[in-house]
């Protein structure tokens, strides 16, 4: 599973992307967040308040209960501020 980070989520984690293989019990975005938060202090900081983080699965915005599976591209980022 390919994970992408943007903006301050990227800065706190210290990575723009990483390949991960979460355990089988990680089935949705919320589960993935909980698992990623355990990977290190940067990850823990980035996901400390999940209300501040948004996700996309395969380049579509995704709610916490959106399913994730091996091979997916999952991105985490703050609320958007373009335009």
């Amino acid at each position: 599973m390919k994970i992408l980070y943007f903006a301050w989520v990227r800065q706190r984690i210290g990575l723009a992307e990483e390949e991960v293989s979460p355990p089988a019990e990680v089935r949705d975005v919320a589960g993935l967040v909980a698992w990623l938060a355990t990977r290190g202090p940067g990850h823990a900081t980035a996901f400390a308040d999940p209300r501040q983080v948004r996700a996309a699965v395969n380049q579509d915005f995704a709610p916490p209960d959106a399913p994730v599976a091996p091979g997916d591209e999952v991105a985490f980022f703050p609320p958007v501020t373009g335009g």
Binding site: A7, A30, A55, F77, P79, V80, G83
Partner: protein
């Protein structure tokens, strides 16, 4: 009316309003009005630059989708969305939306629709850099964030 293919670009370079406007009217006689909106980088409060980040792939997809929706909702003869990324200085343009139609209302309404959507639905993130040094990520406005709150990952 022929199907309209919107022009969507995400680029570091600046854009040329006159050239983009001409592109929507040159060689055709069915355009009655062209509405545009240029978002400009403000420089108040000691801001020295904006740095814009995007999600390559998703951003272009999202812009293309919303531009196509505008073309479906309004009888447009042309639609252009150009959003810059990278470092942008005060006074420079950040984003350009152009809509052309036989009728002014369609052009004006679709232009406002697109720029409102760009604020809430397009994967871009702004970081402000200040003349005294230092920088900070721009936070979503409460009004804009309300539109995306349904996507928040915790309660």
């Amino acid at each position: 009316m022929d199907a309209v293919t919107p022009l969507v670009r995400v680029q570091e370079a600046g854009f040329d309003l006159a050239a983009e406007t001409a592109r929507l009217s040159e060689g055709r006689v069915d355009v009655g009005g062209i509405a545009s909106f240029v978002g400009v980088c403000r420089g108040d409060d000691g801001l020295s630059a904006l740095v814009l980040e995007h999600y390559p792939g998703m951003t272009e997809r999202a812009l293309t989708k919303i531009a196509a929706e505008a073309c479906a909702r309004w009888p447009l003869t042309g639609c252009t969305v150009i959003h810059r990324v990278g470092r942008i200085l005060p006074g420079e343009g950040i984003v350009l939306v152009l809509t052309a139609s036989a009728h002014r209302a369609a052009a004006l309404e679709s232009c406002a629709f697109l720029i409102d959507w760009l604020k809430t639905g397009a994967p871009f993130w702004k970081r402000e850099e200040f003349t005294g040094g230092g920088s900070r990520w721009v936070e979503a406005k409460a009004s804009d964030d309300a539109a995306s709150a349904r996507w928040q990952l915790g309660r």
